[in-house]
Subunit: 264 residues, 2 copies
């Protein structure tokens, strides 16, 4: 499964450097006209990682550039140290974009966005079967996040003690506001930043635990959608009477807030 540095460079179409002087290389290596012709195919190699070490790294990285950067960078960083290429050429700063629900919009939690990306990187591919497995793992991470009292990760030296909440959502702004109400802290407080750093540690740790299980063929979904949501899907999902909603997540967190069926 492990891809050697040489193999990757061969795939990348830049192994021609091996027989040229550096100064000649640009003219001798013509740019590929096929997007991603130089990237090693997915899935990229994965080895068992230490969930606690990755969680600690994610917590620290969160304070540098936020949740999406922290969760992706902590896992990919460990893979870079253990495997090398292609992870050593991953632009770690790129995933900064997903912070605070993407550019501060408050949409999808950046930690979950990163977890989904990394899961596809090491378990997905262009093949439908592998796509299905990566999606299955990702949805279980999303449901775990929505159904579990979080943050579950506690750093060695916390800056503040934390309050746990069950968010029922994958969205940043709902998760943050629920925590603000439970903790009586403001969104721009240092306590809230610490909470999200601990949340990044929690998501990174859980993602690694599932990817370690997948590596040895032992991953099993453990967080199905609620009975209530499955009931919604009987009328709205594919194959139903209405067949007009595509959402594998908890419906009740946004709908039915006033005890009536919502009008969109």
């Amino acid at each position: 499964m492990k891809l050697s540095r040489r193999g990757w460079l061969k795939n990348a179409g830049i192994a021609c450097f091996g027989a040229t002087a550096g100064g000649m290389a640009t003219s001798l290596c013509s740019a590929s006209t096929t997007p991603s012709a130089g990237a090693p195919p997915l899935p990229w190699p994965y080895v068992k990682l230490d969930p606690d070490a990755v969680a600690a790294a994610a917590y620290e990285m969160h304070y540098k550039a936020g949740c999406c950067y922290a969760v992706s960078g902590s896992i990919i960083g460990e893979l870079a140290r253990k495997i090398g290429a292609p992870y050593t050429s991953w632009p770690t700063a790129l995933m900064t974009y997903g912070g605070a629900g993407v550019a501060g919009v408050g949409s999808l939690c950046g930690g979950l966005n990163a977890a989904a990306m990394v899961t596809f990187m090491v378990a997905g591919s262009s093949e439908k079967e592998k796509q299905g497995k990566a999606s299955e793992i990702t949805r279980d991470i999303f449901n775990w996040y929505a159904q579990t009292p979080l943050p579950s990760f506690r750093p060695a030296q916390p800056k503040f003690e934390n309050v746990q909440i069950v968010s029922r959502t994958n969205l940043c702004h709902i998760s943050v506001t629920k925590w603000c109400k439970a903790s009586k802290c403001k969104i721009s407080s240092k306590e809230r930043e610490e909470r999200c750093a601990c949340l990044s540690g929690s998501v990174a740790k859980h993602t690694v635990e599932l990817l370690n299980a997948h590596l040895v063929g032992e991953f099993k979904p453990a967080h199905p959608l609620s009975v209530e949501t499955q009931s919604c899907r009987k009328c709205h999902d594919k194959g139903s009477v209405l067949e007009n909603a595509r959402a594998q997540q908890d419906c009740g967190v946004c709908h039915f807030t006033n005890s009536s069926h919502p009008k969109l």
Copy 2:
């Protein structure tokens, strides 16, 4: 701004191949212990692209692996053709993960997720100033998406004629359900797939238009949040009395559906 192939390889720490025989390379180039030490720094180079050509490519690519793959792959593919490295080593299939609101969850629209990632790739960096500019462009794309009748892109040979809707959201499942109600088509219909392919074309085109403007220093935000949402933020955003919500998006699409202030 343009980074030469030689410069990238130098940054990537693999220029040592230039003076070695290919067979020796693996042992001579030791793996970096610093994550992403081999990636060229952000922002990656950008040149003016043809928005219509990118939109057409996104529409076609959507039918291969969905919205997130299509929007990212169409823009990066054009950059790979025009610039070469580092884009030729981008793993195009990776962004498949974001399809249908990430792994089919129905959360953040995959086209928007991809647009945000690409925007950060060519306009963002670890520097706060560039992060701010990339976020400003991204938020304008998100607001445009929520406020504009879409899809606006029409392929040369559409499979079906389309109905436009104003989604008021960045979330896949709300956007899709609104379109299903307006078109009277089901979520699993070929018409819905065509609609989302046209939406991928629309998002890719608009993203390129903004990135082209940014390239020549002419980007200006054109889609502010609504007056109603700005009113919400006066009580809930940073610096306000409650300071308990972080969401730069339309509040009213989910809240106030029953004319009362919602309870979270």
